[in-house]
């Protein structure tokens, strides 16, 4: 399984902070995003934002990043700390 986390606006908009996706159907971030967007039109809209960032195992990654069982993926907006 792949652990998927959402933070800040993305979490609020999806009303979801965490879920699990099967690794057999999500070999990379592009596939995972496409499966998450397929849930409904709201998920499609929220996860299509151009400024959406993704981290794999707590390191910033991109759509091409490969995934395997046990990986932790996080989606979040641009950071605003400091």
């Amino acid at each position: 399984m792949i652990k998927v986390l959402f933070f800040a606006q993305i979490r609020d908009q999806l009303a979801t902070s965490e879920l699990r996706m099967p690794s057999s159907e999500n070999h990379n971030i592009e596939m995972l995003l496409s499966n998450l967007k397929a849930r409904d039109s709201h998920w499609q809209t929220v996860l299509s934002k151009t400024n959406l960032l993704v981290a794999v195992n707590q390191t910033i990654s991109n759509e091409n990043s490969a995934l395997q069982s046990g990986d932790e993926v996080a989606f979040f907006p641009p950071v605003t700390g400091g």
Binding site: A8, Q9, A55, Q58, A74, P78, V79, T80, G81, G82
Partner: protein, 149 residues
């Protein structure tokens, strides 16, 4: 030393720790505070969220990059999370070095990268009881350009 905490920090105590080694000739510190006006709105409080684990990893990497560029004897980064009030301290960066140039540059470098890479998010509440997530500033990204020269 890197710390992510809900509690406040004491500038004098942090400064004293940075000057413990007798080789230290300069200490530069920065502290960021909760401001009353942001994005044109009157702010009453701020909530800071972060990504536990990635935050520490990201700050460690930024500090390591600074250490590889400048001669740093000691470095402290503290970032607060949770609910903060106006004028509360949010972030502290302190650098101890032999000479001031390294400390000034490393302090600014760490803040510039923290602002654009460390996974923290601010949610502001206004005096009208409105609350919203703060938008990232383009100026923060531009600030990174000077370090790629």
């Amino acid at each position: 030393m890197i710390k992510v905490q809900t509690t406040d920090f004491n500038l004098q105590a942090e400064h004293d720790k940075l000057r413990e080694k007798s080789s230290v000739g300069a200490v530069v510190t920065f502290s960021g505070l909760v401001r009353d006006i942001n994005q044109g709105k009157e702010v009453s409080s701020l909530t800071l969220e972060h990504y536990p684990g990635m935050t520490e990893k990201s700050l460690t990497k930024i500090v390591e990059q600074a250490k590889s560029r400048w001669n740093i004897i000691d470095c402290t980064v503290i970032h607060r999370i949770g609910e903060l009030k106006l004028s509360d301290q949010i972030v502290f960066v302190g650098i101890a070095s032999l000479h001031r140039q390294d400390a000034f540059a490393a302090c600014e470098f760490i803040m510039d990268y923290l602002k654009t890479e460390a996974p923290f998010w601010k949610k502001e509440s206004t005096t009208d009881n409105e609350s919203y997530w703060v938008d990232a500033r383009e100026g923060d990204l531009k600030a990174l350009n000077k370090w790629s020269k």
